[in-house]
């Protein structure tokens, strides 16, 4: 009668290990066939030979809640790769790229990285979220593969000093410094309220902003809420109660839109300020908020209208996401370095990246020792304002 537990356990050890072995062998014994994605043609085995294409990788949220951002990565890289292939590739070899999905989930980032590594990529454009980039870039660095993130602004990405990790976007501390300078010196605010969404990105940005403002402007509210929160009234009350000339939100557009609508609803007229996570996203942010969005400040580097036109021409009129240009630049810089170094060894390419200097739609790109783009402490960030439903540069001082 009491066979239940016996059934379960009699062969548990044996079968358990057998299953484990089977899986391990399945996972390890197999070198996944390369899956070309995007522009370039089919590939062969993993070992690069002179006739083989040069392979680079894209790691980012291809699917999942942030798939929109992932398409920036893919599109920007596609453009760069197509341009290089049109010019005849590098050393007569075509370039192809492979995309792997991390679903914007830090859990899955190492898996995506592992797969790209086994595809034999020279370098990777990605990942998008700092939470994913941090573990993934470590994996790339261990294998001597270049990783250039076009979008992860968390300082920690490069502060670890990994020799093959770079970024072409700014850093949270630069962005926050720019915002703080604006709020204290140009906007001349007396009181500031600061919120964030308790993610690596949002909280890091808001903390940096608060630090930069310390002693310059009074911070009346410093609060955070979960990134799934959508009822902001209890938090907005704090602004009404404690007062603020301007309020800052460290987070992304998805929360910023209802936040701003609700703020206007409860009668808060002070402008909102935010970072790159809210900049852009015309359809998802500006159009959704409508008139209430006017006067909202964001920090973002100046964009290149020529690039936007090229992008639209390539992708049938599609509006580029804010990070498409960074992905394009990242891919271009990587390909330049592969070209200049004359090698497909990531470590040599990284050396070339550290030494080189390139002109790009984002201005001159030179990397410092940590892998950040050299520049002033505020980076290339400028302050934008929303006017008549569009972002326009407000202050580029």
């Amino acid at each position: 009668m009491r066979r239940t537990w016996m059934d379960v356990t009699r062969n548990g050890l044996w079968t358990g290990l057998a299953a484990g072995i089977a899986l391990a062998v399945a996972a390890c014994g197999k070198d996944p066939a390369p899956a070309p994605s995007g522009g370039a043609g089919a590939g062969g085995g993993a070992a690069p030979a002179s006739s083989e294409p040069i392979r680079i990788g894209v790691g980012g949220p291809i699917t999942g809640p942030q798939a929109k951002n992932g398409s920036d990565l893919v599109d920007g890289t596609t453009m760069a790769v197509e341009e290089w292939n049109a010019k005849g590739g590098i050393r007569g070899r075509k370039i192809e790229f492979v995309a792997r999905d991390d679903e914007a989930d830090p859990k899955k980032a190492p898996t995506a990285a592992a797969q790209l590594i086994d595809q034999g990529v020279v370098g990777v454009i990605g990942h998008f979220n700092s939470g994913s980039t941090i573990p993934a870039s470590k994996a790339y660095a261990d294998k001597g593969i270049v990783c250039i993130t076009p979008a992860s602004t968390n300082e920690f990405v490069t502060d670890r000093g990994l020799p093959t990790v770079f970024r072409v976007c700014g850093r949270d501390d630069q962005q926050a410094a720019r915002a703080a300078k604006f709020v204290a010196e140009e906007f001349k605010a007396k009181k500031v309220a600061i919120f964030d969404n308790r993610t690596a990105y949002g909280k890091g940005l808001a903390d940096n902003f608060a630090n930069a403002l310390k002693g310059r402007v009074e911070i009346t509210v410093r609060e955070g809420f979960d990134e799934k929160e959508r009822n902001f009234k209890p938090y907005l009350n704090m602004i009404k109660e404690k007062g603020a000339d301007i309020w800052y939100f460290g987070g992304i557009f998805e929360q910023a839109a209802p936040l701003l609508i609700q703020a206007r609803g409860v009668g808060i007229t002070a402008p909102m300020m935010s970072g790159d996570g809210v900049h852009g996203y015309v359809d998802d942010f500006l159009k959704k908020v409508g008139e209430g969005a006017n006067g909202t400040f964001t920090t973002f580097p100046p964009t290149d209208p020529a690039f936007i036109q090229r992008y639209k021409a390539r992708f049938a009129g599609k509006e580029p996401g804010p990070y498409a240009i960074f992905s394009y630049v990242a891919a271009n810089v990587l390909l330049h370095a592969i070209h200049d170094s004359g090698s497909e060894d990531g470590r040599k390419v990284a050396e070339a990246l550290h030494k080189g200097s390139w002109d790009s739609p984002l201005g001159k790109i030179e990397f410092d020792a940590k892998g950040d783009v050299k520049g002033p402490p505020e980076g290339t960030y400028v302050v934008w304002v929303v006017k008549d439903g569009a972002h326009v540069v407000h202050s580029s001082k």
């Binding site: 799934k228 959704k288 409508g290």
Partner: protein, 306 residues
């Protein structure tokens, strides 16, 4: 302070309406319907899609906002009721009498399926109540101010509708034949069968009613937050469940009390303690209540059925 508590009260009213569904189902089946929060989300989607569609096609301008709102609420109730009915038939009924673990796991599975179904079909970006529309801005902003308290029309609407729904459900359960049958079934399912009550139909009715209520709460939540998103339901649903437990599970006035209390506690926590621990307060409160008064605030002492 008063303003924050009022906001908590509004949120609590929404919790309470969702909690009704949990409490009714738990009363009869002793099952946490993990998918209930998802049904609320489905309702919110159906409502917002209807509203946005009406606004986009220009019908809102001719029909007027109140009529469109009613239409959206009705549509969402219908859709959610269908889903509630189907979920019970597909995922819970075959498991009746299969112990308590299987239905729970099945419920979690259904919840994940519904969430991802909406994510795949409607996209993973939130959809918005047509907020840029001028009619909305006029109708849903502004409001009344009394001293430190200002009440927006949305808030007033939410509280009014929630109170009406709760009163309506209370009358339904107390006065009607089916309502009495529901109470009878929740007390003794076998005996209910023996007096001729088709228990399966009563359970279906419970799911349909609970889902329709949740749908209204979903639409109202969307009016409050201006958007609907595929993952909006789970945490809200869990909190509503906590509210149901607070009040005494299986007890309809208890769910209302628990919902309001939970809303107020959260608001007080945001105001007085730390805002970033908001989501923890609900579960902390749950633990305290379960240990100090396992039957909830209004729960009656009933012998455990063996």
């Amino acid at each position: 302070m008063i303003q924050t508590l009022w906001d908590g009260f509004v949120q609590g009213a929404l919790y309470a309406v969702v909690a009704l569904g949990y409490t009714m189902v738990y009363g009869i089946l002793m099952l946490i319907n993990f998918a209930h929060g998802e049904v609320m989300m489905l309702g919110a989607y159906a409502g917002v899609v209807t509203l946005a569609g009406l606004a986009g096609s220009g019908a809102m301008a001719s029909l007027g906002l109140p009529l469109c709102l009613c239409g959206a609420v009705l549509a969402s109730m219908g859709v959610a009721a269908c889903y509630g009915f189907v979920v019970e038939r597909v995922a819970y009924r075959p498991l009746r009498g299969a112990g308590s673990l299987s239905p729970l796991i099945s419920a979690i599975g259904v919840s994940i399926v519904l969430q991802n179904f909406v994510m795949l079909t409607q996209g993973n970006a939130p959809i918005y109540v047509p907020g840029a529309d001028k009619a909305w801005q006029d109708a849903l902003t502004g409001g009344w101010t009394a001293g430190p308290l200002s009440v927006q029309p949305t808030d007033a609407l939410i509280v009014a509708v929630c109170v009406l729904l709760m009163a309506g459900l209370w009358l339904f359960v107390q006065k009607t034949r089916i309502g009495t049958a529901m109470r009878a079934t929740s007390q003794d399912r076998v005996m209910a069968r023996l007096v001729g009550i088709d228990v399966d139909r009563v359970i279906s009715a419970t799911f349909v009613i609970g889902s329709a209520l949740a749908a209204v709460a979903g639409v109202l939540t969307s009016l409050l937050t201006m958007q609907a998103k595929f993952d909006m339901g789970f945490l809200l649903g869990m909190k509503a469940f906590v509210a149901a437990v607070l009040g005494g599970i299986g007890n309809i006035p208890g769910a209302m009390l628990g919902g309001l209390l939970l809303g107020l506690v959260e608001a007080a926590g945001i105001y007085g303690l730390r805002a970033d621990y908001k989501d923890v307060y609900a579960f902390g409160l749950l633990l305290v209540v379960l240990i100090a008064r396992p039957r909830g605030l209004l729960g009656e002492r009933v012998a455990e059925k063996v």
